[in-house]
Amino acid sequence: MPYTPELKQLIKKVEATRPERVRRKKEGKEMPAMSLEERQAVLDAFHPDCKKTSKRSIGVGVNKGYAISPEIVDQLESKSRVNPDQVDLNPRFTTDVLVVGGGGAGVAAAIMAKEHGAKVLILTKLRVGDANTMMAEGGIQSSSKLHKDSPYYHYLDVLGGGHFKNVPELAEALVGDAPETLAWLESLGCMFTKDPDGRLLTIHGGGTCRKRMHYAADITGAEIMRTLRDEALNFPEDIKVIDFTSAVELVLNDQGQCAGVVAYNHETEEYFTIKAKAVIMATGGSGRLHIQNFMTTNHYGATGDGLVMGYRAGVELNFLHTVQFHPTGVSYPDQIEGLLLTEKFRGMGANILNIDAEQFVFEREPRDVEAAAFIRECEERKKGIATPSGKVGVWLDSPMIDDLKGKGTVEKEFVGKWKLYMRHDIDISKEPMLTYPTLHYQNGGLKINARSETSLPGLYAAGEVAGGIHGENRLMGNSLLDVCVFGRRAGRSAAEFVKSGAKDGKLGLEHVKKYHQELEAAGIGGGRVSPMLLPDYGNPDVRKNQITTCYLGTIR
């Protein structure tokens, strides 16, 4: 729905301060960025991670005592969806490399594993490409402008964004592989935004010291995802796909290696075993767990399955004590609440404003700082803008981009969002957008090394499910890079393992039985089972009448 008369009245204030703000920006006069001390102060007081109720210690397993979001702990402190004694471990499918997850990391891994001689099977609970990669908008970072940028400065930015906690060898892999990875995507035919002579256009992102954000209009992730998907699906002999089927447990063999998964067919509701010489976990993030009840930018399947499966098999978790909230999620209109408004809006100069149309924060702070500043403005200073359904937001002044870069820029550079808002009769090249922080990214995950190996031989992890690359906070444009860099590394490593390290052995689920015993001994878990696989958005009034819990005759 369009803005209400009350909101339109407030927009007039934004319009009143805009010419002066545009003039200052054209003169290069920016609002000053916060010092590291100021950043820390606003994070400590207002970032959702710092709330007292935001953490609980994990009660069992290799990270016992590690305090992270209770919503994730609930998933970890749960029993398997299957009774390990009942599962038929005779494999229905056998492959060299099994990729769990059909997003950017999974598909990049599949392509690389194929190129290194492996037969690949992609298992995905929705369709290939139904993933956060598809929804990433703003861009992909890489140093590419030789006269002003290099992996050295990219590394410094990555570390600064991550509070200097990143695993050095992973950050090094990220920035070092970046140019080659970007060139690979270019060779696959990604339509990056370029000058006629082929020079890539680049802009800033939050926390970057050089303009190194490469993009494809405002659908960079979709462009990368659909290109990778097309490439993978063009080799059906080497890369097979089973979709609408989840992995629910890893399967180990008696050589101590990861050797497949227990899969669940969502239609037939049947569990079966897939045997593999190597498994790549690429299940993505966990936004659909709705940590602290925040709305999320994540796709429907982002329920943290890979964390659960890996953890039960003894793989250590790291950096899950921080969760990334994207500062600019949609808070109005309600139909698209929580949806991501790319950081590129701010990268191209759009200011952030409160109800009095005043700037209260520089628009390109790192994401965690920017989000915390929004929350402070609304919660403490009470200068947010209330929506008719009782939510709150701050203005993202998109029309000033047209004033800065020329009329028509918003429609051209943000065509996806422009069309989306036009469906609700809001023209974002003329009216600003109401935004509030939204649950965006799982900073941590399964611990890996620079070869994308986990501590379990034969198990690799890549993309959002892995942790350490971004430390405690990821910068814009480094996740599309991450999924491609570590997807490629995982694919290569797994294919090499298939040739040289994989040993055949008897399949088993002893680790699940052991985990169940631990849960029982600790007296935790209650009746929960995990992974969740899909979120429950059912109507509670309907749910309370869905009282069949087991098979009775033919219909459930």
Binding site: L36, M135, K145, F164, G176, A183, R199, L339, N539
Partner: protein, 242 residues
């Protein structure tokens, strides 16, 4: 202040449910009690997983849309199309040319287009689908790529096409040919790849990897920031580590 919920009837695959009139079709189905296992992806109109076909009362027209974007409307009859059997012309991108003959070989049905424009009318992204198909027929791959750029590959155009064209797969072939063979490659990027491979940045990165937090903070604070509104030619004062 509690706003009053206005309930309207919709028919999901023939069965009537009363749902609030402020919901998208996807949220209306969940409100009705569906646990979606197909036909749901990004919930934001970009992944193309949730195609629907519907008809409104007193209209003969069959309309299509995305369940996460289309609003529930009183009396609508809808069916979900989470999967549509698209044709794929299997190819290795490195072995096909950016020329009309490639499309003739992989997607000959394109040339049977009757220019009815139903594809364009059915596109939830408002893409000029017929125009890009015609561009392919003329061999204008650049135009086909540019016109189809916003395609979410939902396949709704295919579901309505009398010539049975798999438009989305035709379009991505055009875009990938455009991106890989027609536009010039970025020379600066190729040079950077060479520099990385030659080990030019290893020493600097080694220093950073070994640096303690205080040293890193010092270097971080000292970074020279490229101003926002400067041309691409801007260069930092220091050439160190470039």
């Amino acid at each position: 202040m509690e706003t009053k919920v206005n309930l309207i009837p919709i028919h999901v695959m023939g069965k009537q449910y009363m749902v609030p009139d402020t919901l998208t079709v996807m949220k209306a189905m969940e409100y009705a009690g569906y646990q979606l296992t197909r036909g749901c992806g990004c919930r934001g109109g970009i992944c193309g997983a949730c195609g629907i076909a519907f008809r409104l009362p007193d209209s003969y027209k069959i309309e299509v849309g995305l369940a996460c974007q289309a609003m529930a409307q009183p009396g609508m009859y809808l069916a979900v199309l989470p999967f549509f059997p698209n044709k794929r012309g299997i190819h290795d991108l490195n072995k096909v040319k950016a020329a009309v003959d490639t499309f003739k070989a992989l997607y000959p049905e394109v040339f049977k287009c009757v220019s009815c424009n139903t594809c364009t009318k059915s596109c939830p992204m408002s893409i000029e689908v017929m125009d890009y198909i015609n561009a392919v027929i003329r061999g204008d791959i650049v135009q086909a790529a540019e016109l189809s750029f916003d395609c979410v590959m939902c396949g709704l155009c295919t579901s309505r096409c009398p010539a049975e064209i798999s438009h989305a797969n035709v379009a991505i072939l055009a875009r990938r040919l455009y991106g890989s063979q027609i536009t010039p490659r970025a020379e600066h990027l190729a040079k950077q790849v060479e520099q990385v491979k030659a080990g030019k940045f290893n020493e600097g990165l080694d220093q950073l990897k070994k640096a303690d937090v205080n040293k890193l903070k010092e270097l971080y604070k000292a970074r020279e920031a490229e101003p926002d509104n400067t041309p691409d030619e801007w260069a930092p004062k220091s050439n160190d580590y470039l």
